[in-house]
Symmetry: C2
Subunit: 362 residues, 2 copies
């Protein structure tokens, strides 16, 4: 298999569709689907170095909190695989060094830190004295993190599927789908299971500027799986809700604070306010790997501010005058008061969130 494998997603592109998995660990090599090129081009990139993994995360080639976590775990292996000749002490230092480096890629999604901490703690439990043996133990841990992520998505799907009833319109934001995880997604998990169960419902995906994860990723993966999906611009949500077309909102999240405040892709807070205004339940699909009990409330979550170019352009086409000031917060915080429930792998957690999150996760 060549380093870069071009695949066809649409008949209008080229070749035949091959691997569309978010990421793959195969014979000690890490392959990441380049999500910046979707939906017109489906291509994965073999990650040759930990620097490449860092850039893949930073540039959103791989994105979505769970996917970032799994990618980082494997990325750490990439960063240390050439160092197994070091003695154990020096090897452990390399592991910490590379983990800290990977963690610096993006600040908001807690899964990144969570996965790296798991890898670090795993390294501390190693009882041997051979760096190659420690590498193997870490590889097993990364694979465990990966497999667990798949299961977390499945369980979120099972716990949320009954929310989706016949004839409903379900709104989602950004991409919290298969592309954001290594399984069937978080927000999309109940959708995929309901669809498998033969429930007829519509999904509305808002396109999610500036990087259009809703248009390019969500509409692509849901459409490919045969779900009924309609694309909206972000500003259409109130109108569509006012027409009684939306019965349920499910989004993903990048970090849930101890009080239930939810950090997610910019625009989520607005969707939650609108859902409350129109009397529509607003659920957040959330594996435990995205819950951060060390962060008390939403205002303590670091909101990544990204480059102005993402707003000033659309694709690569400039839409604004030179020297235009912009804001580009990539996330916002939805206060827990606007959240109907968190769909977790343990079940649906409802208010009071501080109490119930502690009860389930401490």
């Amino acid at each position: 298999m060549g380093k870069n494998k071009i695949s066809k997603s649409d008949p209008t592109v080229f070749g035949t569709s091959e691997n569309t998995e978010t990421l793959r660990w195969n014979s000690g090599e890490l392959f990441l689907l380049d999500q910046t090129k979707l939906p017109l081009v489906v291509v994965e990139e073999k990650q040759e170095s930990v620097e490449q993994v860092w850039h893949s995360i930073k540039q959103l080639k791989v994105r979505g909190a769970p996917a970032i976590g799994v990618a980082a775990a494997y990325g750490l292996l990439i960063g240390i695989r050439e160092q197994t000749a070091l003695n154990l002490k020096e090897f452990l230092w390399e592991i910490e060094n590379k983990a800290a480096y990977l963690e610096s890629a993006r600040p908001t999604a807690v899964n990144l830190k969570w996965a790296l901490i798991r890898m670090l703690e795993c390294s501390k439990t190693y009882s041997g004295n051979d760096s190659r043996g420690l590498f193997k133990q870490l590889e097993e841990e990364a694979i465990l993190i990966h497999e667990e992520d798949v299961q977390l998505c499945q369980r979120i799907g099972v716990n949320g599927v009954s929310l989706i009833k016949e004839g409903m319109g379900v709104l989602t934001h950004c991409n919290a789908g298969a592309l954001a995880t290594t399984g069937i997604g978080t927000a999309t998990a109940p959708m995929y299971l309901a669809h498998e169960n033969g429930v007829q419902f519509c999904v509305y995906a808002d396109e999610t500027r500036p990087l259009l994860q809703g248009a390019r990723l969500t509409s692509w993966e849901l459409n490919k799986a045969g779900l009924d999906v309609t694309l909206l611009t972000d500003n259409m949500v109130a109108h569509i809700m006012s027409q009684d077309l939306i019965d349920l909102v499910i989004t993903g999240t990048d970090r849930v604070a101890a009080n239930g405040d939810v950090a997610n892709k910019i625009g989520t807070h607005g969707v939650a306010v609108l859902a409350r205004h129109f009397g529509i339940p607003f659920y957040v699909a959330c594996p435990y790997s995205t819950i951060d009990l060390n962060t008390g409330e939403g205002k303590d979550i670091v909101i990544e501010e990204r480059e102005a170019e993402e707003v000033l352009n659309f694709g690569k086409r400039r839409t604004t005058p030179e020297e235009m000031k912009v804001r580009n917060p990539a996330f916002d915080v939805t206060p827990h008061e606007l959240v109907t429930g968190l769909i977790t792998e343990k079940g649906i957690i409802r208010a009071p969130f501080a109490e119930n999150l502690l009860k389930e996760y401490l």
Copy 2:
């Protein structure tokens, strides 16, 4: 002056900046700035036929309710100027025919119909028997409609300027600026006057997908005039409001119903709900030419649904999979309960709107 005059708006384009007026009537010729090309290219187009004017309106080369009205009045002249050899009865029939044709260009903005009805009623008051004389009378009426529009903007500015106080953040949506009118705009009128008066304040413009009037038009004209403007994606509004950066919202409108319900660019309803949620006053700048007492309430207003391509692409670049379903309502309706006040040429009209609109305008 050549038929198409290319001008430079940015140093990065070409030539030197010349005419940037929304429209011009000069020696019996109508010139419309092609707003689909802004901000990167500033070019006006001489309207050779009434069909060209219809297409200019349909394709949003000229847009903004007041500008559409004035353009239609002049467009009617273009449509009949070759027919002045007809006898009066046949000429009147031509006038009605061309007016009906122009009215069909777009359904939502009431100014289009309003301006054409004014021209028709003017034609009925003609006391001569010479078609050329009627043409001249109609030309004077079109010029009157144009000059009045300039004055309406100015008076809206004067009536709204005191809303903008030192240090405020003012949010606007779409483009209700000079480019949407033949004067200093409607929503922007108080902003331009406050700026002239030396008030220091910031404007936040949300880009307004799908056609990006906020990014391409509002940010361009405000920036050119030296105002402090920051561009947002539409989905950032809740977050920016939650950071206490917005003290006031002013938008334009395409049609205000008798009960005060406001039809405006898609996304306005959402902004109004968010403003209400965050306790921010929400004003709508509205000349009488946009008030439609014949329409009882918002649900009676026809919402134009435009081509899917506008959502599926941006500037000719495809961002979504083939065969993706979209919605593209170009407007939404903000219920009067969410409106703090209508800034009109007569003053600020507040609730109860049905009663107060009748009082001012019947």
